[in-house]
Symmetry: C2
Subunit: 246 residues, 2 copies
């Protein structure tokens, strides 16, 4: 029987710059019964960014003229930070700014977020290299647990055409992120030529269901998958030449 | 401890028009240990459509002039069916046609699919009323099991900006599809004003991870959620006036 378990990791302390996030995750996993070979450890971007010091105080931000000109319902200092993080602004409808980040992700506010920040007037930015963040966490968690693991770093993104956010992978290490079924045939022999499944994003969404947004459950274990591999979350970005919605 | 279980429902027979899909799902669930109160039964659109007879033989299709003019790498009869199912063509890049369906969903080929079809030269269409399909399945499954259940009907959709498909909800009954956290505050008191989570789509993606595309696992149970409600999958469609990507 195919079965998946998604286990929330509870009781993590508030994470700050320089904290040993892997050690905290490892201890939380022990309290949840311990890690097993093949587990995917899913970690919310917010705590990864905080551990890496990827936060900025609005008090240190002087808005540029372009931020002042766009800001309608925004604090112009917050918009200044969004514009700094954005490689390209995709759409705006105040106060919504949808932008492409330096990593190629298209999301609200270029991933800049004021919620669950370490203090008032403080913004949390995406990690500089989320695939690298996932790889580092994976190495440390494997060392601490003695288990063969995968790690996803996830964030909540809106979508075109559909309401609400779903969690997606912005960093990955140790697993297949895109399951390519091209060439595979259905029971009738029909080739599934267009089918590549973004399994990393489905895992991210599954983990979100136990993580919640306000409870201190910033991580989860997803158990029962057989997706060992070396995919990167950057592989999930649609290449510009194939992107019909740029 | 917050924990979710996702259990694939195996051993279903090939489903055809008029078959009692709810009875087959109920028997498969019994083999998997039985249904419990609060379970979400996730069913792939393909088997729902087949049970409802929502298939069409290409032999019965005469392509219109507009289908003939657009068809490049397509069978023009298949394109004719896609155009009939489409309320609006959003983008084309042969052989890809991204269209809005009568339900408001934006997806490849207006949901028309040749894979896992009941025969060669046969296409499977989306259900006429997927929320209604989910509601009917829910009523029958609750009667058969004596349990309080929710049902999602799901399909694999591509996304703007990101590679690969993820499964999303196109029909829903008995649960909250959008979890609205507006007004909820984070531990620091910051209001999560922009946060509405498309939990139904996250559940759909979680189920896909055990369902697969070629194995005969067209359904799954998702257990451990507390999302009872009366949301409809049509609520997941972004209203045109709020849609920045039409």
């Amino acid at each position: 029987m195919s079965e998946l378990r998604v286990i929330g990791l509870e009781g993590l302390p508030e994470i700050g710059a320089g904290d040993d996030l892997a050690a905290e995750l490892s201890q939380a996993a022990e309290r949840a019964g311990g890690l097993e070979d093949g587990d995917v450890v899913v970690v919310a971007q917010k705590v990864v960014s905080k551990a890496e010091g990827r936060t900025i105080s609005l008090r240190d931000v002087v808005p540029s003229r372009s931020a002042l000109s766009i800001a309608v319902d925004h604090d112009p200092r917050q918009l200044e930070v969004i514009l700094r993080e954005a490689a390209r602004v995709v759409r705006t409808r105040p106060p919504l700014v949808i932008a492409e980040t330096s990593h190629g992700f298209v999301c609200a506010s270029a991933g800049v977020d004021a919620s669950n920040a370490p203090g008032p007037e403080t913004l949390v930015l995406l990690p500089d290299d989320p695939d690298g963040s996932a790889a580092q966490l994976r190495t440390r968690l494997e060392d601490l647990s003695g288990r063969r693991l995968a790690v996803l770093v996830t964030d909540s993104f809106g979508r075109a055409w559909r309401q609400g956010t779903t969690d997606v992978a912005i960093g990955a290490a140790g697993l297949t992120v895109l399951l390519d079924l091209r060439g595979v045939r259905d029971p009738a022999g029909y080739e599934l030529h267009a089918t590549t499944i973004a399994v990393a994003d489905e895992i991210a969404g599954a983990a979100e269901l136990v993580m919640g947004k306000t409870a201190r459950v910033p991580a989860a274990i997803v158990r029962g998958l057989e997706l060992a591999g070396e995919g990167k979350a950057r592989d999930l970005v649609m290449p510009p030449e194939r992107d019909l919605f740029r």
